[in-house]
């Protein structure tokens, strides 16, 4: 395991947000965490990077594992002047070639001199991805990285992730509510609602009663996508 949690409980203020979470990621695996709003998805990710302290339980990282983190849409205050290049060299200034390589891997070559504020949502997410790649991650953490992007933008972004993963061979943990995209691309799905409702192969999770009841409202949309997915799987 690159990273795993053991009996993880987390309170934010008085509220119990995560309850008895046991999960982990193997080398090279793509794991997706899905769940309704307020189900603790982001909190779980933030616990994995050490930004939230568990009330009890543990987050275990295998020694020396490098983590790249792409946060949910990041707001940068307009009073802070920041070029893309400068932003990527925080906190450590990388070598010129490394910087260029990461930017081209994330599909943002040539944006280096631009101000971060002037980027479109999709460009900014790719810059965040490029910055995460600088760490040469064994594990990439993406927190709703495509929120606010339109359908094409998010499809393009996931494509980029896919090619990055093939290049680096890193594991990926994604948080998403775009069920259709997620189901297709993951090796394993964790369905979260304060606790782990169910986890396993996408095909297994999508037919489980827990998943069905959690996403009952999305049923219509889901049936269509899942239908297409089953189709895709049967051709493999």
């Amino acid at each position: 395991m690159l990273i795993e949690t053991r009996d993880l409980f987390i309170h934010l203020g008085q509220r119990l947000v995560l309850e008895d979470i046991n999960m982990g990621v193997e080398k090279g695996e793509i794991v997706t965490i899905i769940g309704p709003n307020g189900s603790g998805k982001s909190t779980l990710l933030r616990a994995l990077i050490g930004a939230v302290k568990p009330t009890s339980g543990q987050v275990l990282r295998s020694p020396g594992v490098a983590i790249g983190y792409v946060p949910q849409r990041l707001h940068i205050d307009e009073t802070l002047p920041m070029s893309v290049r400068r932003f990527m060299s925080l906190p450590h200034r990388p070598a010129q070639e490394e910087l260029n390589a990461a930017m081209s891997a994330a599909g943002v070559s040539g944006l280096g001199q631009q101000q971060v504020m002037s980027l479109s949502g999709g460009q900014f997410q790719r810059v965040l991805l490029a910055r995460a790649l600088l760490e040469k991650p064994d594990l990439l953490l993406l927190d709703e990285a495509t929120q606010g992007l339109d359908h094409r933008g998010s499809a393009g972004f996931y494509q980029q992730i896919e090619s990055v993963r093939q290049e680096l061979g890193c594991a990926v943990i994604m948080v998403s509510h775009e069920l259709h995209v997620v189901m297709r691309r993951s090796d394993r799905v964790i369905c979260l609602n304060g606790h782990v409702c169910c986890q396993g192969l996408p095909e297994v999770v999508s037919v489980s009663p827990e998943y069905q009841s959690l996403f009952a409202l999305d049923q219509d949309e889901e049936t269509v996508y899942m239908h297409r997915d089953h189709h895709a799987y049967s051709h493999k």
Binding site: R46, Y69, P71, D77, L80, P81, L90, P91
Partner: protein, 270 residues
């Protein structure tokens, strides 16, 4: 050279401007303007305290500012919004300080000198304190620069890179308390926030990286200090407020320039 009071005043002004500039940038970026204000207001309580205990003013102010700043950062997010908390604490501590000072009837103190500063009365010891504090603040901020920037951008990104936002916040808090303590003699409690925020805000439109903004803010602060000193000498006006007027003027011109520039750029379809 230091025997000339004008030279001493100029050096005091420069010392404060240099330390206030980079710190002021962080206060602007992190939207902590109120925080600076609150810490400065609490300094009056520090003045009263050091008069009662007969300690150097600098020490009393430093202690109270530090306490105020840590109290505010630790109370944030526990029931009250930050600005409400700051409003309560800044003005209560100012009021308590003023009341406390009035009890000291065996000492006649010039309250105005602490509220608005008395840069012309800066002595050699004051100068040493100001420059000592200033060098300390500049080194602290320069040493932690990258971490501070990353924590300012986003706490989670900082965590992921092994930078603790809490620690960076603490460093800023300490630096702020030092600046307040050294600046009280120069611009006074009520105008310290101005020297922190206005140079940084003035520099913003002309900068593409955080570093240039900090340097430009320092230059602006220094220029305003010298210009203000000169103007107050010629016009016989209070020096601290005159310095702040100068920097406010610069801000006005900078924003006008930026507006015009921005406007013409949008028209040319950029």
């Amino acid at each position: 050279m230091l025997d000339d009071f004008l030279v001493r005043s100029a050096l005091a002004g420069l010392g404060v401007a240099l330390a206030a500039a980079p710190l002021g940038c962080f206060i602007v970026w992190r939207r902590m303007a109120y925080f600076g204000d609150a810490t400065a207001h609490a300094a009056v309580l520090g003045v009263a305290l050091s008069l009662v205990l007969e300690t150097p003013i600098f020490a009393g102010v430093l202690v109270i500012s530090l306490m105020m700043a840590t109290l505010v950062s630790s109370l944030t997010g526990r029931g009250y919004a930050m600005d409400t908390l700051l409003g309560v604490m800044a003005h209560s501590s100012l009021a308590v300080g003023l009341v406390a000072v009035s009890f000291l009837d065996n000492i006649r103190i010039d309250l105005m000198a602490y509220l608005f500063g008395d840069i012309l009365a800066v002595g050699k010891t004051d100068l040493a304190v100001i420059w000592g504090g200033s060098v300390l603040v500049i080194s602290l901020v320069a040493y932690r620069w990258s971490g501070l920037l990353l924590a300012t951008l986003n706490p989670d990104l900082a965590h992921a890179s092994g930078v603790s936002p809490k620690r960076e916040q603490l460093i800023l808090t300490i630096a702020l308390a030092i600046v307040v303590a050294v600046a009280i003699k120069v611009v006074g409690v009520l105008l310290i926030a101005a020297m922190l925020i206005i140079p940084a805000a003035t520099a913003r439109p002309f900068c593409k990286t955080p570093e240039t903004m900090a340097v430009l803010a320092a230059i602006i602060g220094c220029a305003a200090s010298l210009a203000g000193l000169r103007a107050s000498y010629q016009l016989d006006t209070p020096t601290g407020p005159t310095i702040v007027c100068m920097v406010a003027l610069m801000f006005l011109f900078a924003s006008l320039f930026w507006r015009l520039n921005h406007h013409s750029r949008t028209r040319s379809g950029d």
